[in-house]
């Protein structure tokens, strides 16, 4: 009896303590030092098919850097699912890497922690100057009016990928340029168990990317100039409704897509079950799924009317990866040298070719390798008609709150429940109230 009671008590204490177990700590302020000039630690985000592939790709480049500068770089490739929490833990404890990759949509949120080195004029000059980079990519590296918190490393944009055979079978000669055309084509394509458009309804980030672009096309930004959320503005509501209506009203997205979050829509595309997807640099994924380059075509993401790149016809968010330096690095000069090396024209060409992304460095973009039809469209989109997601400190919360609202609306649409302006507004109002608490 006594044993079981003691066991119960120990279990209780252990389990309960685990509930509130939150660590904390402090870190030193300042802009780094040169206490340890011969080594650097680098957290690279997982860009390739897996972590091991990234190590194989990056290790020779790091050796090259070591040969040039004598600085040894300790590499750790961090999976995306862990990266943000690892950065937060490093920020809290002050025990982080010297240099790291961040998703560019996190830039303003991470900038607000004060843990990252600001890229002021002097720091940019140390890596060749701010003008070397595409403007939209730099704009996605920190809040407007502040020095960027990071430097663009790999850039991406959205495009419309379509299955040529499915289009031909449906008698469609060219990809849609406007949303009305997409719906009209979509109705021809959605039959016999096949569907026109694929999406990832359970993927909050993807939901945000799509509704942000549609929001721009409706003249909505989701935040006002004071960084206050405006999720229930007419434009934002119309954008979200338009997106979910592709399933709820237009019936050109399979209901099953509402629960997709693991790139299943790309598998459906590769299997010929879905005719179109809106995606970033999907060529390598299609190849891995057994599709030949001749099987698919690529076009700019549709706009309400006219061609992208004119007026307010934003048709992509600026996607990509940035490179940041932890403010309290023990090798500030080495860290800047490393950023300079990774953003040099030569490395930009090499790494972006390998990863299928677009260099945010203007000179490197001119390489013929980035003129393949799909990459050219991504490159042109990035240059002319892409906009960075709202660079506000609460961007991370925005992704969760609005991304979840859209996910819930997908679930309603999939279940056959009505998706109305009122129901969209109610979900967005709930998301906005959560942001304001």
């Amino acid at each position: 009896m006594r044993t079981s009671r003691a066991a119960a008590a120990v279990t209780v204490v252990t389990a309960l303590a685990a509930v509130t177990g939150c660590g904390g700590g402090t870190s030193t302020d300042g802009g780094g030092s040169n206490e340890s000039p011969r080594t650097l630690t680098y957290w690279a985000s997982n860009q390739g098919p897996n972590v091991e592939a990234d190590k194989k790709i990056l290790t020779p480049e790091l050796k090259k850097f070591e040969k040039q500068t004598g600085i040894k770089v300790k590499l750790e490739v961090v999976p995306w699912s862990d990266l943000l929490n690892r950065i937060l833990a490093a920020t809290t404890s002050g025990q982080g890497p010297d240099v790291l990759n961040i998703g560019n949509t996190w830039s303003a949120s991470l900038q607000a922690t004060g843990a990252l080195l600001p890229w002021d004029r002097k720091n940019f000059d140390a890596i060749g100057g701010r003008d070397r980079f595409v403007g939209s990519a730099v704009a996605s590296a920190g809040a407007q009016g502040k020095d960027p918190a990071a430097v663009p490393l790999y850039s991406l944009a959205y495009a419309l990928y379509y299955n040529k055979k499915m289009f031909a079978d449906a008698g469609i000669s060219q990809p849609p340029a406007t949303w009305d055309q997409l719906i009209a084509d979509g109705k021809k394509l959605s039959k016999n168990g096949k569907w026109a458009l694929g999406t990832e309804g359970g993927n909050l980030a993807n939901n945000i990317h799509q509704v942000f672009v549609l929001g721009k096309q409706h003249g909505a930004d989701f935040f006002d100039s004071s960084a206050r959320p405006t999720f229930t503005s007419d434009g934002a509501v119309a954008a979200v409704k338009q997106y979910v209506d592709f399933m709820a009203k237009d019936k050109i997205i399979a209901p099953g897509n509402a629960e997709y979050a693991q790139n299943q829509s790309l598998q459906d595309f590769a299997r010929g079950m879905t005719a179109m997807v809106l995606w970033q640099a999907a060529a390598s994924t299609f190849a891995a799924q057994g599709m030949k380059p001749a099987d698919w075509g690529v076009a700019p993401v549709p706009v309400p009317a006219g061609a992208p790149g004119t007026g307010r016809n934003t048709n992509s968010m600026v996607a990509g990866i940035n490179m940041a330096v932890f403010k309290n690095t023990r090798n500030i000069d080495g860290a800047k040298k490393f950023v300079k090396f990774m953003t040099s024209d030569a490395e930009q060409k090499l790494l972006n070719k390998t990863y299928g992304s677009i260099p945010p460095v203007k000179a490197a973009q001119q390489d013929p390798a980035f003129s393949a039809p799909d990459l050219k469209i991504l490159r042109d989109t990035l240059t002319a008609s892409a906009a960075p997601l709202p660079q506000v400190p609460t961007e991370s919360q925005f992704e969760t709150a609005v991304g979840t609202a859209v996910k819930e609306l997908w679930a309603d649409a999939a279940a056959g429940l009505p998706v109305t302006t009122e129901s969209v507004k109610a979900h967005l109002a709930k998301a906005q109230q959560q942001m304001q608490q």
Binding site: M1, S4, R5, A7, A8, A9, T11, V12, V13, T14, A15, L16, A17, A18, V19, T20, G21, C22, G23, G24, G25, T26, S27, N85, L88, T91, T92, S109, L110, A112, T113, G114, A115, G201, G202, N203, L204, A254, P255, G256, A258, E259, A261, Q264, P393, S396, Q397, T400, A401, G403, K407, E408, W410, A411, A414, A415, K430, Q433, Q434, Q437
Partner: protein, 334 residues
């Protein structure tokens, strides 16, 4: 026999009576009762130190955080985060506002989930353990099969369930809809109301082998003679279970149910792997909800306040449970 040190001999002589004589004998005596009673505490010391380091100190830090306005702006030096007094708690329990309302909903879902998951896990565990009492061909194999879910890595197992629950390509709909024709159309399990059912199924699948293991161990301590005597007196199988098995298992069940309750109420892996960081409303467990507040919305103060409230609730339930069960036990002993 004659090698005992003189001092020790003196002390032995004096100690029991007066404590005088040898100077060492004048030191306060530690009664054997206390000396021997202290040994277990000494042995517990490393565990207590580790417990302090690993759980209790972080828990205290978590409580301190709950009184601060801790967001990403202060994460580098959370000690400087502005004092929030009870604001974080007020937000958490303001059930007219979205955050409080969502927390209350999440709490309700978690309670319901715990009742189903613990109840079914316990039921299956006890039933299987009782069935496995009889010696039959293949019993060892079946036992091993039953314990397999307990031995599998949680992430791998739950992600497999997530694949099986997919509407269009999952095994569950293939069996229920395509093969058995039990549903008019393939159902959604990972979104909408069915997600609660999916969550309970996976949780029970994961937990019942533990109940089975513990109950099976408890059954080994019940003397066979009791069953034999009951059988001679004409008691049937149900009567034997009701009058012998379940009462004898009571101490084991008390601990088992408590442990299952705590594990289930705090379960994070199952919903997170099954649904990702935004669970459907019907399956919005409190653990993921608090995780979202802290690590997705980056409101660590508010997340800590919610954690503390949860801690208080679990402490209360656990204390009540232990009190009730110990009273029940005393009553039975009397």
């Amino acid at each position: 026999m004659t090698t005992v040190a003189p001092g020790r001999t003196d002390r032995a002589d004096n100690g029991a009576s007066s404590g005088k004589g040898d100077p060492r004998g004048r030191l306060p005596r530690i009664p054997d009762r206390i000396r021997h009673g202290g040994l277990p505490y000494l042995l517990l010391l490393p565990a207590v130190a580790l417990e302090l380091l690993v759980h209790l100190i972080p828990m205290v830090i978590g409580i301190v955080m709950s009184f601060r306005r801790l967001t990403q702006f202060y994460i580098r030096n959370w000690g400087e985060a502005p004092w929030a007094a009870l604001d974080n708690y007020k937000v958490a329990v303001d059930f007219d506002a979205p955050i409080g309302r969502a927390l209350l909903h999440s709490f309700y879902v978690t309670c319901l989930f715990t009742v189903f998951a613990v109840g079914l896990s316990w039921l299956f565990g006890v039933a299987a353990a009782i069935m496995m009492q009889e010696n039959f061909r293949g019993r060892g194999f079946l036992r091993a099969v039953f314990l397999t879910p307990y031995a599998l890595p949680v992430y791998a197992a739950v992600i497999t369930w997530a694949f099986m629950f997919q509407r269009d390509n999952g095994l569950i709909n293939h069996v229920l809809h395509d093969q058995l024709g039990l549903t008019d159309q393939p159902s959604f399990w990972l979104i909408g109301d069915n997600s609660f059912v999916a969550l309970v199924v996976v949780a029970v699948w994961k937990s019942w082998p533990f109940a089975f293991l513990i109950v099976m161990a408890g059954l080994q301590n019940i003397p066979r003679e009791l069953y034999e005597a009951a059988a001679i007196d004409g008691a049937g199988v149900w009567q034997q279970i009701r009058k012998i098995t379940l009462p004898s298992l009571r101490p084991v069940n008390q601990v088992l149910v408590l442990v299952l309750f705590l594990w289930t109420f705090n379960d994070f892996n199952t919903p997170y792997v099954l649904f990702g960081r935004a669970a459907p409303e019907a399956a919005d467990l409190i653990s993921v909800h608090i995780y979202q507040s802290s690590f997705v919305a980056w409101n660590f103060g508010s997340g800590s306040a919610m954690s503390v409230l949860l801690l208080l609730f679990l402490l209360l339930v656990t204390a009540a449970y232990l009190l009730l069960t110990s009273r029940g036990r005393r009553g039975a002993d009397a």
